[in-house]
């Protein structure tokens, strides 16, 4: 086969691949999973740092948990956990709606996802304010009780919060795109990829909630 015909065959193959929505969707999802794999490593470093600190300084963490017993404390974080779990449910129900060809349903559920993500961030801000009043800050505090704890607590939770903020913006983009007719029962890869990201953020919180607040 001549070089020109090889190039022509490759061009046709590439074009055919490009116009195959199913292959495009699979590629998008695979790319997203690769990205999430890198996120696993980053979050794991932060979680491992906390776990090692938890093992070596249990008295500091116990003191932190005692502080959580005061209202709103653990109840605020638990409510926030329910909000994030609910947002994951709303996300996947939105995906189900577009799979069934209901674009309005998609818009409603993803808007709800964005709203619950926003509530999560607001409640996390309230929680951080409460904790800073108790002396849990990023830096050395006056009585030295929570020295070294602050960074190990705020790094994973705030990094997670930043991911929620990115997710909210992404959800709003999905809603915007849906309103313009960007998705249908045959074309919803964009919604699915956003869902992978949002559920990953939820999974990270499930682990953080247990490790940091409950154990």
């Amino acid at each position: 086969m001549s070089e020109a015909s090889v190039q022509q065959a490759e061009h046709h193959a590439a074009e055919g691949h490009h116009h195959n929505p199913a292959a495009r969707a699979e590629n998008l999802k695979f790319a997203t999973w690769l990205y999430l794999a890198s996120e696993v490593v980053i979050f794991s470093v932060l979680i491992a740092t906390y776990v090692v600190f938890r093992l070596h300084s249990p008295e500091v963490v116990e003191h932190f948990h005692e502080g959580l017993n005061e209202w709103p404390g653990i109840w605020l974080v638990s409510i926030n956990t329910f909000i994030l779990l609910s947002s994951s449910w709303a996300m996947v129900m939105g995906l189900r709606q577009i799979q069934l060809g209901n674009r309005q349903g998609l818009i409603r559920w993803i808007s709800l996802t964005a709203l619950m993500g926003t509530l999560f961030v607001l409640f996390q801000y309230v929680e951080y304010s409460e904790l800073s009043h108790k002396g849990i800050t990023l830096y050395y505090n006056a009585d030295g009780t929570f020295t070294d704890f602050g960074m190990r607590f705020y790094a994973p939770t705030a990094f997670h919060g930043a991911h929620v903020i990115v997710g909210i913006l992404w959800a709003l983009f999905v809603v915007f795109n849906a309103r313009r007719g960007g998705y249908s029962a045959d074309n919803y890869a964009g919604v699915e990829v956003f869902g992978l990201y949002w559920h990953f953020v939820d999974v990270v919180w499930i682990v953080l909630f247990t490790l940091i607040y409950l154990i």
Binding site: F82, L85, M93, L100, A185, H199, F200, V203
Partner: protein, 119 residues
Amino acid sequence: MGEITSTEHTAEKVGHVGKHYVGDTTTILGRTIPLPVYTVVYIILGVVTVLEVALAEVFPRGGLTIPLMLLLSLSKAALVVWFYMHLNTDSRIFAVTLLIPVVMVSIATLFLMIVPVGY
């Protein structure tokens, strides 16, 4: 987790999309529940979370409390990954992509946990 499935017959009636079941009923251990599988998983996640908080805040702590809470947390994470992120139906390569870093960092973390203080 293989016991929880969306009823295929209903899914076909309302739209069986690609590899995902979008039926409005769910079958658990042979019993059919008139809710989509996503809602059933959500209810399970909520109940397990309540159980976790109760174990941590209400019941006195025993030697098994922490392992049990870790098990419950990992079960919740697995449910989300399996059903909401569709690893139950999507390509196995996605599962491998997730498992490789999870296994690697788990080994690294366990190693860090056994290193003595100040070493």
